[in-house]
């Protein structure tokens, strides 16, 4: 337990020392908020079913943070740890593999949460962000979404032969999702055929779920999203357990 605690603490410090990871998780969402907030403001419009642009964007940007951490940070981190022999060194100690995975999930979960929290606080202070949902429900949806994307990240890291391949694979999955899931470009902007394609992207379901709960829709309206994300989580964990390599 003491080992897990120290490892988690050190990993948290390492996360913040990595400029790219810290920037894209904690600061970049704020940059997005201020750029698009200053263009569109947060007046309720019919275009967003009576919500403001910022109100709609904040849960979408939280989905973006989840995808960034899951598909880029975790993937690259685990793949580099394996390729450089860091995992090998850990393995030569009594530290349990579960502790290494737990520390990674914990640190990344906290960082994702912090990224979302900063975004919410800034949106609230500057644009008077509206929240109409149940905080516990949104938090649960956030947890499910994050864990299922972290599992995806572990899968990519496990099946990639090298860190380089892991990075490329992560990006190949990340960028289409970023633009086609509604995380950055509102889905109202997409043509019908693209919208149908985006149904196949897990991130689309994160965006739909978070936005729905944000505006007070009950979980019952989003069983499909919950089922998809749970499926990704379970399958991802199973594949990771089967394919994870120390070296």
């Amino acid at each position: 337990m003491r080992g897990l605690r120290k490892l988690t603490w050190v990993e948290a410090k390492l996360f913040l020392r990595e400029p790219a990871a810290a920037f894209f998780t904690l600061l970049f969402p704020l940059v997005m908020l201020f750029i698009f907030g200053s263009i569109y403001g947060n007046e309720p419009t019919d275009y967003f079913d009576g919500h403001g642009a910022v109100d709609v964007s904040v849960p979408a940007y939280i989905a973006m943070i989840i995808a960034t951490v899951g598909l880029l940070s975790i993937t690259i981190n685990i793949a580099v740890y394996r390729e450089n022999g860091i995992l090998r060194r850990y393995r030569a100690t009594p530290l349990r593999p579960q502790a290494i995975l737990a520390a990674s999930v914990l640190v990344n979960l906290v960082m994702t949460f912090l990224g979302g929290l900063l975004l919410i606080l800034a949106a609230r202070a500057v644009y008077g962000l509206h929240f109409e949902g149940n905080a516990v429900g949104v938090l649960l949806a956030f947890l499910l979404s994050a864990l299922s994307f972290f599992a995806l990240g572990f899968v990519i890291a496990s099946v990639s032969p090298t860190a380089r391949v892991a990075q490329v694979l992560g990006m190949v999955l990340f960028y289409p999702m970023l633009f086609l899931s509604g995380a950055t470009i509102p889905w109202q902007e997409l043509p019908e055929w693209l919208r149908r394609f985006s149904e196949f992207l897990p991130l689309t379901h994160v965006v739909t779920l978070l936005q729905g709960l944000w505006f007070g829709e009950p979980f019952g309206d989003h069983l499909k999203e919950v089922a998809v994300l749970l499926g990704v989580l379970v399958v991802g964990v199973l594949i990771t357990v089967e394919t994870f390599r120390w070296e």
């Binding site: 120290k6 490892l7 050190v10 990595e18 740890y81 860091i86 090998r88 060194r89 030569a92 100690t93």
Partner: protein, 304 residues
């Protein structure tokens, strides 16, 4: 318990390649035991089977009375490991690494004096990536000693280090043994094995071809010593051949090499030269080394 490690008939195969082919040996408590041989001889595979990091395909391994596969976690509490290839996160600081690794064990030593002893005290706030090769190697030794282990594994400890850093490492290995710990090391430097080890196993192609103290290995070879000197004028080499123990005399311009055995070889050669009134200079002798033993046993030249 007298023995630290017992290996019997250890075998490990990677696909078609037999990496370790039925190796058996014992390591006694408190000794520095070395495995020497060229790269690819099976040294690292053997050491990793003993540490429990690899599963043998055949044979049995007992380390500190434990089965490394079944009791892996318990074993790792009691051993210290320096791996041939490993790393730490680039931005982890030296003190964070030792402090964190200490927390992985039930029992650990204070890390401040440890860093002091390894000459890393001033580097405690330095990122891992900014350390030199020798400093990284010393940090890995610190990590291998942080749990006050009974048995320390050092795999290719000095590869990639300059001669000065290498000598400093040797002193560290002696210090570790001074503290009553058993040391198991691998190296492909014959000189290193000869200087450091109480006993040496020479491995080649996954097999042990010889195992004894370096002195006994060299003596068992019965190899000839060489006496080399320079003469300034021609003389009758028959006088040298008549010296007891001399087997051969070679002449290359002014350079003479006398081959022979026995403790009185040098005295006999010098005596013969003085008696014959032959002026000579730059006289030196060459003793056979582990390198010669390896060459004699395998027919191969090892490359450092």
């Amino acid at each position: 318990m007298e023995t630290a490690i017992v290996v019997e008939g250890l075998r490990k195969v990677y696909g078609e390649v037999v990496a370790v082919d039925g190796i058996s040996f014992e390591v006694r408590r408190g000794e520095i035991f070395g495995m020497v041989g060229p790269n690819g001889a099976g040294k690292t595979t053997t050491i990793e089977c003993i540490e429990g990091l690899r599963r043998p395909d055949g044979g049995t391994v007992t380390t500190l009375g434990l089965d490394p596969q079944r009791d892996g976690y318990e074993l790792r509490e009691r051993i210290g490991v320096q791996l041939q290839e490993s790393a730490l996160p680039n931005r982890i600081k030296v003190w964070e690494a030792v402090d964190m690794f200490a927390s992985f064990y039930r029992r650990s030593v204070e890390w401040e004096p440890l860093l002091e002893r390894l000459g890393l005290a001033e580097k405690r706030n330095t990122d891992f990536a900014k350390l030199s090769g020798g400093q990284k190697q010393r940090l890995f030794i610190a990590l291998a000693l942080i749990n006050d282990p009974e048995l320390v594994f050092l795999d290719e400890l000095t590869t990639g280090l300059d001669p000065q850093a290498r000598r400093a490492m040797w002193q560290l290995v002696f210090d570790i043994r001074e503290q009553g710990k058993t040391v198991f090391l691998t190296t492909h430097f014959m000189e290193e094995a000869e200087r450091l080890c109480d006993r040496v196993a020479i491995v080649d192609d996954g097999r042990i071809v010889a195992l004894d103290s370096p002195e006994k290995l060299v003596r068992s070879l019965g190899a000839e010593k060489r006496v080399l000197f320079t003469v300034e004028r021609a003389f009758d080499e028959a006088a040298l051949r008549a010296v007891p123990g001399v087997t051969k005399v070679e002449r290359n311009g002014e350079r003479i090499t006398v081959y022979g055995t026995g403790d009185r070889l040098v005295g006999g050669v010098v005596n013969a030269l003085e008696t014959g009134g032959v002026p000579f200079r730059d006289l030196r002798t060459e003793q056979p080394t582990l390198e010669d033993v390896f060459l004699a046993l395998t027919g191969k030249q090892i490359r450092g």
